[in-house]
Symmetry: C2
DNA sequence: AAGTGTGAACCTCTTCACAGCA
DNA sequence: TGCTGTGAAGAGGTTCACACTT
């Protein structure tokens, strides 16, 4: 099955909300409740669930436990996937700390940096290696996904190494856009752009 | 003029590339060059520039300096906009550090936290206040945009305070979705979702 | 020949409108 | 009545195809 990007994003978010619900002892949830918690519409929620072929018992809302399982079967990799974080500055540490233990099927198994104060230490709970060991470690530890949180100048060469090492997916938090072959899934997030975007649409409101 | 969201994002990115070009002494750039640097197509670049009504002198490529100005007139606020960062953990510090001095028309003028080791200190170059002073400072310093980098549990109440204080735009980096009235422009970025999205599309490739 | 500008087709995503079910 | 599931319409975004300029 080929799910739309936006639906995959929302499913990931729904799942966390559903886990929260279960923790609070709430076993069923209506589409409009889920919608309200995610700033979207009940129709959107139902459409997403329709796309994954999940169906409720009509009047009672969706069964949280069941739905969590269905989403997991779709978006998790069966035996999990290994992740590396490259660049253990504030951003790399923030992501690592946020992430650890949150998603059982995605394990951050290595960190990389060039700073000798970090290399061969444990940073934010993860073993940190020198960037020159990237290729070797990616192969040895079967790492599929890399998160680039290095200084922007380093991003291009890191990306090149990652591709040569057979990485499958890259999440680039750097302000430098990178180039990868078709076969590598690339997601880029540019903070400066996000802030400028907010500024633009704010300005717009000020005017109108 | 009402530009599409995606175009605004790309313009922000083009502008930084153009500044780089100028620094390297390159005064003109073709649509296909800009496209290659941004992983998109020449048509897309030309379409974006068409939307902002900018036109080259045909055969020579686009004038970097001119284009930077045109983009600036469209996406910058004339007298600049003030920004606050709420939560000075790793993520807040990362964003602040990345950002300082990069965009002359967007100034981070205050940081907020609850940790007494941070409050009333200068963190990453920014004055840090206690979150309980949020409302007061937002009004006093004419802050239009807030970046939430607090722990997820705190996001909802921070958002509420921000709205009450008359904030115009919010960038939420927390994994908790927040709710704001129509009049506030909200942009959310969820790291866990981004990583899960990459994992999903990687998995897809492994299968297919 | 090698670039730009753009109408129209296309694809993706969201919303409307409504039938069906408990 | 109050919810779910879904065809069809609509909005937003990208790409095609081609005329135009130097």
């Amino acid at each position: 099955m080929k799910l739309p990007e936006k639906t995959v994003e929302r499913l990931s978010e729904y799942r966390r909300t559903l886990l929260d619900c279960l923790n609070k002892g709430k076993t069923h949830i209506y589409s409009h409740e889920l919608a309200r918690l995610h700033n979207n519409t009940a129709v959107q929620v139902r459409r997403d669930l329709m796309l994954i072929g999940y169906s409720s018992m009509k009047k009672k809302g969706y069964d949280a436990k069941e739905l969590i399982d269905v989403i997991g079967k779709l978006i998790d990799h069966k035996n999990g996937l290994n992740v590396a974080v490259i660049g253990m500055g504030n951003l790399g540490r923030a992501i690592t700390t946020y992430f650890i233990g949150k998603r059982p099927k995605l394990n951050i198994v290595a960190a990389f940096d060039v700073d000798s104060n970090k290399v061969n230490r444990v940073i934010s709970g993860i073993n940190c290696y020198h960037v020159k060991e990237l290729k070797e470690k990616i192969k040895a530890s079967n790492i599929s996904i890399a998160i680039i949180t290095s200084p922007p100048e380093a991003a291009a060469s890191i990306a090149e190494t990652l591709v040569m090492s057979g990485i499958k997916g890259i999440l680039n938090f750097t302000t430098t856009p990178i180039n990868v072959p078709e076969s590598v899934f690339l997601e880029e997030f540019d903070m400066i752009t996000s802030i400028e975007k907010v500024a633009y649409f704010v300005k717009d409101q000020v005017k109108g």
